[in-house]
Amino acid sequence: MSIEQGTFVQKYDLLGCIQCGRCTGGCPVTVRTELNVRKFVNDTIEDDRLEELSEKPEIWDCTTCNTCALRCPKGLDPFEVLLGLRSMRAEEGNIQPTARDALESMFNNGNPWGKPAARRVDWMEGIEGVEKVRILEPGEKADVLIHICCTAAYDPRIMPLAKNLVRVMEAAGVDYGFIGVEEKHCGSEARRLGEEGLFEYFDEENTELFGRFDVNRLVCLSPHCMNTFKNEYQNLNLPVMHYTELVAELIEDKKLELKNEIAAPVVFHDPCYLGKKNNIFDEPRYILSQMPGVEPLEFLRSRERSLCCEGGGGKMWVESESKEQRLAETRIMDAKDLGAKIVAVSCPFCLLTLEDALKVKGLEEEMRVADILELLGEAM
């Protein structure tokens, strides 16, 4: 190894790796794919192998669930090496067409779903009991700025989450506001699909955009947006929260009353970007425990050991070649074995992947997957 070697792993702060293998040992996707993150960290130390390594299909299997980072005894983020390899591919434009289309749409439309920017506020139509969502003017004051993720803004299945978030704000008398049609993608999925440059663009754009308003905190619907605003933006001087944190606070302060029965055994599935990445485990469980009739259950694999649904890390746009059962299906079968009637989540991607798995398993009649925001809407 020459003195110049190892600059790549250094960039991702992985020279401290001792090759113990705890990362690969805990990696949930190893049951489905060839991915061996420990070996990638080892091999990428040779700069002249980077090209070859970046062409391995399994670099796209990582869901960035953070399990490897939690298990690393040296406190490293091993999966970052895979994002680095993806960015080599993205730089050459040599990525899967589905990922390319998503990235193009992020740049052109401000969302990965190929939808026009002008339709971003469609979700505001017809919210029960809410006449008008408060859109902030530049310079306007508010306690909370809500951030609706691209998926909630455009996917009709997820729109009810955004509607219910507004209903909660109104019911609890929160001084909130929304950006409106100018809101755009957070850049999280751009970065995970390897487009560092595009991520930096969103970092600058959104920092400027949020800076126009006189708000105390940013509350995100999706843990993915929250994570990137909170941990990856360079100059955003705004406290960032997930909606579960705010709602738990509102319930504790008796500002939000939950009176309708849910009456079902409910198991909470920890979204990786909420739990494993940001240590928010208790707030969602607290909210559920305050809903009348809810019988809380726990997965064997919960909290730090929670099983990833495979919706993150850009995986909504990139399929694995694996024919093995999806982790979301395993999760649904675990929930069934527990006797759960509702699998509660607090992330749009988890909702979509788990609901798909429910269909694949043909269990739509027996159980349902619901976001905590939907359950709040029913309980209010």
Binding site: T98, D101, A102, W113, G114, Y154, D155, P156, R157, I158, M316, W317, V318, E319, K323, R326, E329, L352, D356, A357, K359, V360, G362
Partner: protein, 320 residues
């Protein structure tokens, strides 16, 4: 305008329909039509062309047993120089794309590809070419020349009835030197079962509504009766009932058929994003609130196990 040349296209002992379409199109332009046929022992093709043309130039030579763009181009150059046609029509096909632009460049002639209609104005051709997925028709005029080359899209005009009896002129191969730059090796057939659903004109897309693997045959039967290919939602692919290359949606393929029949598909956003290029969407679902009906042009709210067999029977009956 002087004569119109139409290059006859054939492959694996079959005269391609585009030949008759182009001869029909040329017949409506008011100039004598000459079919140019390169082949080896294909008298029946010459006869067929003669029934659509005023004249057939038939070069019967083993060189032309299989298509070779270099050989065709060399021969066409000689024939065009000798006969001086006003217009040369070549199919906008795999063969035509290999030949026509290169021919036009060699003879420095005006050329346009993928033409759907031609008229003659002031003794010059004016061609129509589509843009933006067929939303706009472009009018193409050409600089003055003695001869123009156009590649004509397949199925742009229907082939007529024929009924002419053109003279068949057997001509010696105008190219005497051997073509070595390109050689025909073999035909490689696409493996059976491999279907590229992004190219399908009609798709029957199967969703979880079919419940079980053993219900797939009724879908296959419907697709066959429609002349359609099978596609699927992600859930059906995950269940292993159809291969991944049939998956439509955000993490699968984006398709653009003329007809997309969604059967038992609820219409998740991630799925319907993949069908935005479809001309006509028809949905069959027992749930009237299924989101697919927001995207469908027509919908049938009923049990697919009743609708699909009835539809298949009806289609079979129509075919007779």
């Amino acid at each position: 305008m002087s004569d119109i040349f139409v290059l006859a296209e054939h492959r694996q002992d079959e005269l391609r329909e585009v030949t008759l379409e182009m001869l029909t199109m040329a017949g409506g332009l008011g100039s004598p039509v000459t079919a140019v046929l390169f082949g080896s022992g294909v008298n029946d093709f010459a006869d067929k062309c003669a029934s659509f043309a005023d004249k057939v130039i038939y070069v019967d030579d083993p060189t032309y047993e299989n298509f070779n763009s270099a050989a065709y181009q060399a021969a066409l150059v000689e024939l065009i120089k000798a006969e001086k046609p006003g217009l040369v029509l070549i199919g906008n096909t795999g063969q035509g794309a290999d030949l026509a632009p290169s021919l036009a460049v060699e003879l420095d002639l005006p050329y346009s590809s993928d033409i759907i209609a031609v008229t003659i104005e002031n003794d010059k051709p004016v061609a129509t070419r589509q843009y933006y997925g067929g939303k706009i028709d472009g009018r193409i005029e050409f600089k003055d020349a003695d001869t123009y080359v156009l590649a004509i899209r397949e199925a742009a005009t229907p082939a007529g009835e024929g009924g002419k009896s053109g003279e068949i002129v057997k001509t010696d191969n105008p190219v005497t030197t051997e073509i070595t730059v390109k050689r025909f090796l073999e035909y490689v057939e696409a493996a059976i079962g491999e279907v590229d659903i992004t190219q399908s004109t009609a798709l029957v897309a199967v969703g979880r509504g079919i419940r079980e693997d053993k219900n797939m045959p009724i879908m296959e039967e419907l697709a066959q009766a429609m002349g359609a290919d099978l596609a699927a939602s992600r859930a059906v692919v995950d269940a292993g009932w159809l291969p991944q290359d049939r998956q439509v949606g955000i993490s699968g393929k984006t398709v653009k058929p003329k007809l997309y029949l969604a059967v038992g598909i609820s219409g998740a956003f991630q799925h319907v994003t993949g069908i935005k290029g479809a001309d006509l969407v028809v949905a069959i679902n027992k749930d009237p609130d299924a989101p697919i009906f927001q995207y469908a042009d027509y919908g049938i709210v009923d049990d697919l196990f009743k609708v699909v067999p009835a539809l298949t029977d009806k289609l079979k009956g129509m075919k007779g």
